[in-house]
């Protein structure tokens, strides 16, 4: 089972503001578990790239929504 270690933050539910990076990182670990090591490594590189670009949610000083960060990471993971 692969999960971020933070909680459910009920007060932010449905607002599209939560930082998805821990969940995405857990997804990278899931890929490692499935034997998809290249994919797992690319997901981590995408996270790093996104942070370097400042494409992050507001808790990290950015202005992006949860869904925007997810889309951006998905696009990055195809190239990084």
């Amino acid at each position: 089972m692969f999960e971020p270690i933070h909680g459910s933050a009920p007060k932010y539910r449905g607002q599209d503001v939560a930082n998805p990076l821990a969940t995405v990182w857990a997804g990278s670990m899931l890929l490692d578990h499935l034997g998809e090591h290249e994919g797992a490594a690319a997901v981590l590189r995408a996270i790093e790239r996104s942070i370097l670009d400042g494409y992050v949610t507001r808790d990290m000083g950015g202005a992006r929504k949860t869904s925007e960060v997810g889309r951006h990471l998905a696009s990055l993971v195809r190239t990084v």
């Binding site: 971020p4 459910s8 009920p10 821990a22 899931l30 994919g39 960060v69």
Partner: protein, 198 residues
């Protein structure tokens, strides 16, 4: 290559962050030639409030068909007394599937500011291998129980002993050893810090 993975969005922000994660994983699959067949599970506070069900026998039967579970990590809702969902879902899954390791990578990513002076990504990169089903980490729930702690501990241990009787300490040590022995890993240490979080 296709992999079957169960997805549990859970409560609160869970569904949103799992959706983001799935999008990224699927994109990795397009690039590297694998496909994830996702199956969503409606397990969490909403269902509990509607039906009174926590983790059902059918949930367990279905979940056991998958190679992995992707979970929002988010079980907990203001409308439900703390501890019910954590024990009835999170800990139930953990013990049923004998998830005896809590594996946590700690890595300073490039671009992230750290309050530690002069530390760079190459300086902070380690993995915590933690007992997940026994020892101090018996799973009391997400809130520290204060003076009732001992009672709760006994209850949980009773369940654990009767239903599972696990003895996994050797396995945790073995995994920690393997990670510590892999290239680039130089040191490991032990800690017996008790935890009260699931």
């Amino acid at each position: 290559m296709q992999h079957r993975v169960a997805a549990i969005g859970g409560d609160g922000i869970g569904p949103e962050i799992v959706a983001a994660g799935r999008e990224v994983i699927d994109a990795a699959g397009e690039r590297y030639g694998f496909d994830i067949a996702w199956t969503e599970f409606d397990i969490g506070a909403e269902r509990y409030l509607e039906t009174g069900e926590l983790l059902t026998e059918e949930d367990i039967r279905e979940l056991s068909k998958f190679s992995a579970i992707y979970f929002g990590g988010a079980i907990g809702d203001d409308r439900v007394k703390p501890g019910i969902l954590e024990k009835g879902i999170l800990l139930a899954i953990r013990f049923h599937f004998d998830q005896f390791i809590n594996l946590r990578p700690i890595k300073l990513l490039d671009g992230v500011a750290t309050p530690l002076a002069n530390k760079r990504p190459e300086d902070i990169d380690f993995v915590v291998v933690r007992e997940n089903t026994e020892d101090f980490y018996v799973g009391i729930g997400s809130r520290f129980a204060g003076r009732h702690e001992q009672k709760t501990l006994e209850v949980v241990r009773d369940i654990y002993n009767v239903r599972f009787g696990l003895d996994v300490e050797t396995d945790a040590d073995e995994l920690a050893y393997q990670i510590a022995s892999s290239p680039g890993r130089v040191r490991s240490g032990r800690s017996a810090t008790p935890s009260t979080s699931p």
